[in-house]
Symmetry: D5
């Protein structure tokens, strides 16, 4: 099932920059592993913002929440989830 | 270039239903032709709403506006456009 | 899978009252059949508003959208869908 | 009487993580005791967010406020309460 | 139990003025009967708006909804309900 | 003259808890003195929130502002003031 | 006492233009009489909008509401009232 | 002086299409004359919307309002005006 | 030319109180000098808020920005500017 | 291609002022170099705010994002991007 997810990152001011850089590197590795597994099917940068628009293809709400909440930057994100159904005009 | 577009349809109350049905049929044909041409690359229904989330791949802003503003249902839509850039973690 | 759905009805002013009453009766019958089938698991009135908060238990986004969009009052509703995951503190 | 409650947690940055973990463990114990007592009748995670949607069944507004305001994470929550009435189409 | 209710009236343009005047007269009579019965305990006009702020004292959510939804102007109102608890500093 | 006032408290994270407790005790004393004087005529807790809805009866805007801005918790509050006029249906 | 009032006019589409022109002429006459009487002390057009920002000097909330609600265009206005107190830095 | 103006057109449903087409033609002629006169210095279409972003260079607020409020489509527009000052980093 | 300006002060928590008091004293002196010069023509306190509504009469946008951005409390303010034109019904 | 960009700066409170001043000087140099290269075609100050409205002329979304995200003040900005198409009435 497909979910549209918008994530916006609010970098913390109370973390040492090196610590935040480490979290970003872990986030990138995790994002790429999820893309390779076929669960994170689209990942786009919103131009001009520290934010992305993504599409996930997972089994259910629980799997989606498990994935999102275990992202290293999750504590610094605001996240909006929209369930996507098939469109009658889609080919 | 990729554009994220959210379209929400507000069916008019002042049109005869048959006229609106005709516009919807034309909209569907146009949406499918644009998908086949490779310019309307994703089209998803937002679950529970008369709305869709789409991704377009077109040459520039002018082509995007020409496509959107010539959709038969355009006069009854609210539309939000977000330019999508490449994400550094995308594979 | 569980979905939280908020529906608010905006009664149309361009329909004859008898026609709207007929739609409401059909809506009620459909809501009760869906409750009996186990797919519409909770249905509460929001105090003071022509609106409800509901929980659906359906197979996927497509089934949810099919159910909601075929409700007789759907054309007169604004609808918000929230996917519900299991809470780690739920017993 | 039923109340729909939406709680969103904003983890504090000024608390030592161990202290916040202790509060979360207390919150979980309290949430489970309230569920067992029949007063916290539903508790769902909003997919993708550090937030829940809950339904409480308590005697009155004062009992609801006493319960919510004594939750260990209450100082870090934004809370929205909606009174739920019986829906005429509910079975 | 006390409920804070904000009501804003949006006069319909599709009703003959005499019909709307009749509804307003009925609304006034009903509001005064409810005040006399002790259930509509405060009724104030918001200065500069066709809106009021009220406090109701009723048995439960169902009674509140029954009262509000049977007001003659209810179809033309937007209504917001806030449950009021006892304040620890109130004398 | 009557004023409807909504106050929401945002407890500061930079004050020692004992200092904030002292301010809360002073706030309570001041609120009770103002109620006894007849100027703070209603004080209700909004269920589930660190917020209240109040009604003041004072001579004019200046007196209202003097009272509100001298509350010990005023620096930590967001405040909304609504002037209340007599309602033609009030008894 | 001073009140800051923002009025925005939403011209009705269901009135004959001549009727709306007549109401505008009456509104203008009434606005000028109120200015001459010293109660409508400032009246400015918001550049680019069919809206004004005004300051009234009246005895109390009831007089303000009586004035505003008897303006010929009141049924087509959205109105926001802000009570103005003396500023400690005003000379 | 420069003013940033955002205009969004809400086509009326109560006008015959030919009448609205006539207004659009007049609007276009007036927009072009104002551009040629140097007062309407930029005019861009917002991609995907019946809206524009413009910059005007006029003597003062009164001239701006006179220009905007005499546009043939002004009755069907929502307009937002932002005064632009010189930026210290502009070359 | 007249500008309507709404300023809301958000006192900083990272400044020593004595430093903030010094800035407030400077702000007051500057506000009074600007009033005496005829450029800050109105200054009102919004009842119940650490905010003011003001009217400035200055030569142009640049002068307005220079004045506002040099106020000692400017770094702690949110500011909204509305250009005011002459109203056709003003006397 | 043209992009309308609104940038609002939220100065950090956790940076030493000298460090922030250094970033502002770098920002100014970078803004001027981008203007000279023809990619940052307009840069205006919003009167009364620490914010600007800009127009960029760049090859595509990726170039826009690369420019914006490398601005020294980018971590302290909220940014909104609007793609601009040619307007049919532009001369």
């Amino acid at each position: 099932m497909l979910y549209h997810v918008r994530m916006e990152v609010h970098p913390p001011t109370h973390l040492p920059p090196a610590e935040f850089d480490r979290l970003k590197a872990e986030e990138k590795a995790q994002a790429q592993a999820l893309q390779e597994s076929g669960r994170w099917v689209h990942l786009w940068r919103i131009a001009g913002q520290y934010a992305n628009i993504s599409v996930f293809d997972v089994a259910d709400h629980d799997e989606l929440h498990a994935i999102l909440s275990s992202l290293p930057l999750f504590p610094f994100m605001s996240v909006a989830v929209t369930p996507l159904a098939r469109h009658p005009s889609a080919i």
